[in-house]
């Protein structure tokens, strides 16, 4: 009896850690969706490919350029941010359309193109990315946790802290919040809309890229790895309330936990479905999401 309940607790902890790890990734992606939504009012479907691009750039930084882990990570994240800025400047801004349907489909088109570029440069093969530090499982209350999972949780916390600092303490961050709050009033007081949009894309790219660098050692790396992860991140963003930063984090972690507990206690075959079923149920009951305004 004592042994089996200890075993159950150990299993539960194991599933919880796995869920939090995936949830942190979803939260990073969801934050990227939210940033762009807040300043531009659109769903940025390119976000899913930022995740794949992050993993790919990390792969090249490590194996083609032979960089160590830390500079490689920074370079990959910065690279995705740069790519995101280029996409905003040359892919989205020339459209000058106010129609949301048009803008949403435009990001779908840009996403197809970026996926094509990734496929062309890195090929269709599945690749493996090494974890940040060697894979020696750490025992926490009897549950064995990979160091990569701890890195994911730690770096997600650091990122959230940085974002909070940026949005509450820097003038660019404050002006972005002003645009999110009331675009017309922000334009009236002279906040440069172009720079705000460019920055929001750079942040979204960096968040997606970081998620890609962190998660691909656990999954595998391929040109379309970001699609499912990205869609779950999107689901997390909507679950928490689209555009709300605490909502994105809560939605991401909640989704990750739910998924891993389902896989652990019920069926791993339908694990990927859980996210969307929960999302649909939430949308039916409370279309604004859990923390939506």
């Amino acid at each position: 009896m004592g042994v089996s309940s200890a075993h159950m607790l150990q299993d539960f902890l194991q599933f919880t850690f796995a869920g939090l790890t995936n949830g942190a990734i979803y939260a990073l992606i969801a934050l990227g969706f939210s940033v762009v939504n807040n300043t531009m009012g659109i769903v940025n479907f390119v976000q899913v490919d930022f995740v794949s691009l992050g993993g790919m750039l990390m792969f090249s930084a490590l194996f083609a350029a032979g960089l160590p882990m830390a500079p490689g990570l920074l370079l990959a994240v910065a690279g995705v941010a740069l790519a995101a800025m280029l996409i905003e400047r040359f892919g989205l801004r020339p459209a000058r359309s106010g129609n949301h349907l048009v803008l949403i489909f435009l990001t779908v088109g840009l996403s197809i193109i970026l996926r094509g570029v990734i496929k062309l440069v890195w090929g269709k093969n599945r690749m493996a990315l090494p974890p940040l530090t060697p894979d020696v499982p750490v025992k926490i209350f009897g549950a064995s946790v990979l160091p990569q999972a701890l890195w994911i949780l730690l770096l997600t916390l650091v990122t959230i802290a940085l974002l909070t600092w940026f949005f509450y303490r820097t003038s660019l961050g404050l002006s972005m919040r002003a645009v999110a709050n009331n675009p017309t009033a922000a334009a009236v007081v002279g906040i440069p809309a172009g720079r705000v949009r460019l920055t929001s894309y750079a942040i979204a790219g960096a968040l997606g890229g970081l998620a890609g660098v962190l998660v691909t050692p656990i999954t595998t790396l391929s040109y379309d790895v970001g699609v499912l992860l990205g869609l779950k991140g999107f689901a997390a963003a909507i679950l928490g309330g689209f555009g709300s930063f605490p909502g994105a984090i809560l939605g991401g972690l909640g989704l990750g936990l739910l998924e891993s507990l389902t896989a652990g206690y019920w069926s791993s075959a339908y694990k990927d479905v859980v996210a969307f079923v929960v999302l649909l149920l939430v949308l039916f009951v409370r279309p604004k999401g859990l923390l939506g305004k």
């Binding site: 349907l101 088109g109 840009l110 193109i113 909507i238 689209f242 990927d272 479905v273 649909l280």
Partner: protein
């Protein structure tokens, strides 16, 4: 009016009917000139896609909603027909109607709660539904055959006449596509269709003018789902083999791309969009690696420069040119006096 003006006026007045007749004649004669089964197979694929895109365009273009989940209804039709004819041994035609009716009911059940959502929420919800459906197709393999697909769907037949080669299928599938086209053309000119257009323009204004927006949206959703289901049944009976890959979220996105490229809210644009996007991979044969660029590039360019789509966009451009020229002529004549 002179005789020439009368004829021109007659043509202008009956432009839709005449175009439909012209298209029907062209399709009737097409197999006489083109007997390459491969090409006919492609044009049949265009017709199947056109049936879906016509319905989807009513929903996206006319009613102004988003659906990234219509590949699921397409798949429900295909797997429904396959399972009904092979596993339950039902005759194919009633099975097709039964499946379409069931899919309509499913769409009704989904549509009532889901269509309260708008914008990104609707996009996400429909995308989510399509993903759930695709995962079920993969995982529930004792019924669907799983990733390896479902084999042995019989051909459709009337008496002993089997639709088993490309030419016969050409007449069958294009016949259905033309019926769908007529249905859509008439629908958008009816009171319901005008209400739809009002809905796309401004939902609040439409509601204020007495359009029941909730029920109109649901009705169009159900109609488009049933059209997609019929297209799915035809797809299953044409290829006799179906697999989950034909019904995933990328296919759902492709359908939306067809709508957007052809023109949101343009019935004829649906045909053009379906044709263009279906043929694209064939023309791109040599450029296999660049397929994605061109696919995404066309969508991006059309949205940037002709956001109303090719058909509506080009027609409007022509109309503007014509109006400008007339105005200039009028001014010259005026100053001449």
């Amino acid at each position: 009016m002179t005789g020439r003006q009368k004829i021109l006026y007659f043509i202008y007045l009956h432009r839709t009917g005449l175009t439909v007749i012209g298209l029907s004649l062209a399709l009737l004669l097409f197999p006489l000139f083109e007997d390459n089964p491969y090409t006919l197979g492609l044009t049949n694929q265009i017709a199947i896609n056109a049936i879906i895109v016509l319905g989807l365009n009513l929903f996206v273009g006319y009613a102004g909603q988003i659906s990234l989940g219509h590949a699921a209804f397409f798949g429900l039709g295909a797997y429904g027909s396959a399972i009904a004819t092979v596993d339950f041994g039902l005759p194919a035609w009633p099975a097709m109607a039964l499946v379409a009716a069931l899919v309509g009911l499913i769409a009704l059940g989904i549509g009532i709660p889901i269509l309260r959502l708008t914008g990104h929420y609707l996009a996400m919800a429909t995308l989510g539904l399509n993903f759930v459906f695709y995962t079920i197709l993969l995982q529930w393999d004792e019924v669907t055959g799983g990733p390896s697909g479902y084999y042995g769907v019989p051909f459709l037949s009337i008496g002993s006449f089997e639709f088993n080669d490309e030419v016969r299928l050409h007449y069958l599938i294009w016949g259905v596509a033309l019926l769908a086209l007529l249905l859509c053309l008439n629908l958008v000119r009816s009171g319901v269709g005008r209400g739809l257009a009002a809905l796309a323009g401004d939902e609040t204004a439409a509601a204020a003018l007495g359009v029941n927006t909730r029920s109109t949206k649901v009705k169009v959703f159900v109609l488009s789902a049933m059209l997609a289901s019929i297209a799915g049944s035809l797809f299953a009976h044409t290829y006799s083999f179906i697999s989950p890959g034909s019904f995933d979220i990328f296919v759902a996105t492709d359908f939306v791309i067809m709508v957007v490229v052809g023109g949101m809210g343009s019935i004829w644009g649906s045909l053009l969009g379906a044709g263009l996007i279906t043929m694209l991979p064939e023309w791109m044969d040599i450029f296999e690696t660049y397929k994605d660029f061109i696919h995404g590039g066309i969508l991006v360019l059309v949205l940037m420069f002709l956001p109303q789509g090719l058909v509506t966009g080009l027609i409007e451009m022509g109309k503007t040119r014509l109006a400008l020229r007339k105005a200039r002529q009028g001014r010259q004549e005026g100053s001449g006096c």
